[in-house]
Symmetry: D3
Amino acid sequence: MIVVIGSAEKSHELNNPFTAGERIEMIRQALRAAGVDPLCCVLVPVPDAEAHTAWVSQVVAYTPRFDIVYTNQALTRRLFLEAEYEVREIPLYMRAEYSATEIRRRMLENGDWNSLVPKEVYDFIREIKGDERIRDLAKTDNAEGEQGGRKGRS
Amino acid sequence: MIVVIGSAEKSHELNNPFTAGERIEMIRQALRAAGVDPLCCVLVPVPDAEAHTAWVSQVVAYTPRFDIVYTNQALTRRLFLEAEYEVREIPLYMRAEYSATEIRRRMLENGDWNSLVPKEVYDFIREIKGDERIRDLAKTDNAEGEQGGRKGRS
Amino acid sequence: MIVVIGSAEKSHELNNPFTAGERIEMIRQALRAAGVDPLCCVLVPVPDAEAHTAWVSQVVAYTPRFDIVYTNQALTRRLFLEAEYEVREIPLYMRAEYSATEIRRRMLENGDWNSLVPKEVYDFIREIKGDERIRDLAKTDNAEGEQGGRKGRS
Amino acid sequence: MIVVIGSAEKSHELNNPFTAGERIEMIRQALRAAGVDPLCCVLVPVPDAEAHTAWVSQVVAYTPRFDIVYTNQALTRRLFLEAEYEVREIPLYMRAEYSATEIRRRMLENGDWNSLVPKEVYDFIREIKGDERIRDLAKTDNAEGEQGGRKGRS
Amino acid sequence: MIVVIGSAEKSHELNNPFTAGERIEMIRQALRAAGVDPLCCVLVPVPDAEAHTAWVSQVVAYTPRFDIVYTNQALTRRLFLEAEYEVREIPLYMRAEYSATEIRRRMLENGDWNSLVPKEVYDFIREIKGDERIRDLAKTDNAEGEQGGRKGRS
Amino acid sequence: MIVVIGSAEKSHELNNPFTAGERIEMIRQALRAAGVDPLCCVLVPVPDAEAHTAWVSQVVAYTPRFDIVYTNQALTRRLFLEAEYEVREIPLYMRAEYSATEIRRRMLENGDWNSLVPKEVYDFIREIKGDERIRDLAKTDNAEGEQGGRKGRS
């Protein structure tokens, strides 16, 4: 099984707060916590492509060969379907709670988010001060748009 | 006459669903349907530039020489004016109906859009399943932001 | 003192209407108008980086050596803090009025903006027709999204 | 028939002296000179991709649909073969003489190059001072490497 | 242990013939063939950065945390030293023979290269026709430079 | 007078060993050493453009307004001539000795290079260990090509 870590170049954005390397560490810890054999998975960070039409070939270039694509994202699904891959949905578990959006929301509001992630992941995020980073990213000088940073920010 | 197909690298976005190649095919079919001599036009796909200030020189580099720019886009108009080109408006015909936005809206709602495009273009879009693509792009997993895809997406 | 002119590749956007070169001219005129010795400052335009994580090393690469970072932007502050720089706030003067957002708002509405900038800067903006540019950028053909222009526009 | 004008973003290099737009004008003139119906061809400038693995999908995205690829370039052939396209060679006519390399060599040495191109193309190149441009590009200050210019120059 | 697969976006070049995904598969097979516990390693493809000065922060962003860098490349060593990492050399085994350059040379000349790689890697390369790809990439139409392909090719 | 520091994103290459920021510091020290009023000059780092045809508009966008271009580089001269700027040569002083190439050659061979630069520049380069950097960049593992680093390296 290959786990693609998409938008690998992104981090330090409210919807994408962690670097690819931090996401790799968290996924490895979550798998270990769940008792999954880490041998089962190849984690591959893949940066965004220059164009949506290059996305499929970029994923293919960065990863070992695969036959079936699992995704719940409409765009990813569409692009792989047009490239004639078999695409399947990922069954989600208690979507309303166990979603990155909900977890980030609670971090922002200093709510209880530790019950939503494995203890190992919680410890990791605290160690790298990830929740503090998210709260910092939410603060913006409202009188002015942010300027420094990443190309192509909206 | 040169027809610039802008943002040529873009596709598979709700406001830009078709590839440059698909747009070339549609324009050629629309011209043929309108009985226009296809010799009249040179269609040139031009990707977005790294900076607005490079946009004029990029259009100039990709296209045969020209003297007058026809556009209704405020930014394009401004950039060519500052580069000392003559810029003119394109008279639009029944703008409320014959607009890409209206056509895409009807596709999304499975409304009647075939009356708004030439039959040849309608057949082409159906053949490449373009309306299905647009409906797919409109579906997003609302609990999470889309991640995979094109650099610089907002 | 080094003044970083961020997003140096951007211009001709409502929130970023001026080129890096125009911003250099305005800052030099404002310093001169304030009687500041221009020798005190090195103005350095720095383009946005490909990734937020590359932003700090890009600023370091473009500028003479420095020890302390002054910024009021949450993202810039966060990135430099994580890279172990000392980061300080810039005390702002009458923020509600003397903000770029307020000045641009008045330009758009043909209001009185000349009282908010030094006379030299006012003359410069008029000379390059900067207020006209901002009013032009605000005009968009509402039936259609803008297309030509800069990669990664949202 | 679709004619792809590759490396469309390149120009002003010794091996790639002309812009995509200039190449479009020359090919149109050569076709006209040869009595070929210009309706036969769609000329499509395609910029280089970020990665070789994205090249095929980029060509597909920029062009109308096609089934067979004609090329004499080993890399292009290989990439399309791996993407399962049929690839055929282009029979060349008097290769030693009618080659861009030979023509550029003669331009550099002020030799007789007008016998190697159609009169219309000769006139066009003279009009845009293309031969002078090539001789200029060949001049370099040998004590120093060139610096300004295009990203990724070797 | 983290193994960085550098220049991850490159492939189909004589000195870089394989995609990042193919390189991942080969390294995993070589580790398995050597009886190394695959759990020991995290393989991380990292694309080249926009600037050498961004390379260190890009590696840091793509990978789990690390303390020591092992490399025999002078540039990589220099960049990490300047960023105050500890950098060590990798002891090489029978360098003259077991080098990628020597293996590629033998592939090109249809020589005996299977004795230089583990059987599993040999089988993989034959399965994806990697040796044929390398021989294809070496063929170039000498009268003309290659044009299509990757940005920034020299 | 505006001094453009070209290829501002480059550094850590044998022909381009210093960052833009380091080059700014050196030029300021050389000017001061020569007794030139630093007010005379605006130093502006400008990164390479995506295409040669965008280079002129990029320089214009990054710099205060100017009328005449001084350069000894054939490409820069050509591009500004085609954009209808007046271009002049820079008279060089004792070119054989006072050239960056000669200075770098001596650094590599541990020769006497301090007589070729102002004392302040010599001290700066020693302080940042610039000569050591150049000697490091010259060392390459000859059996293998370098891989990590900057996009578009040849």
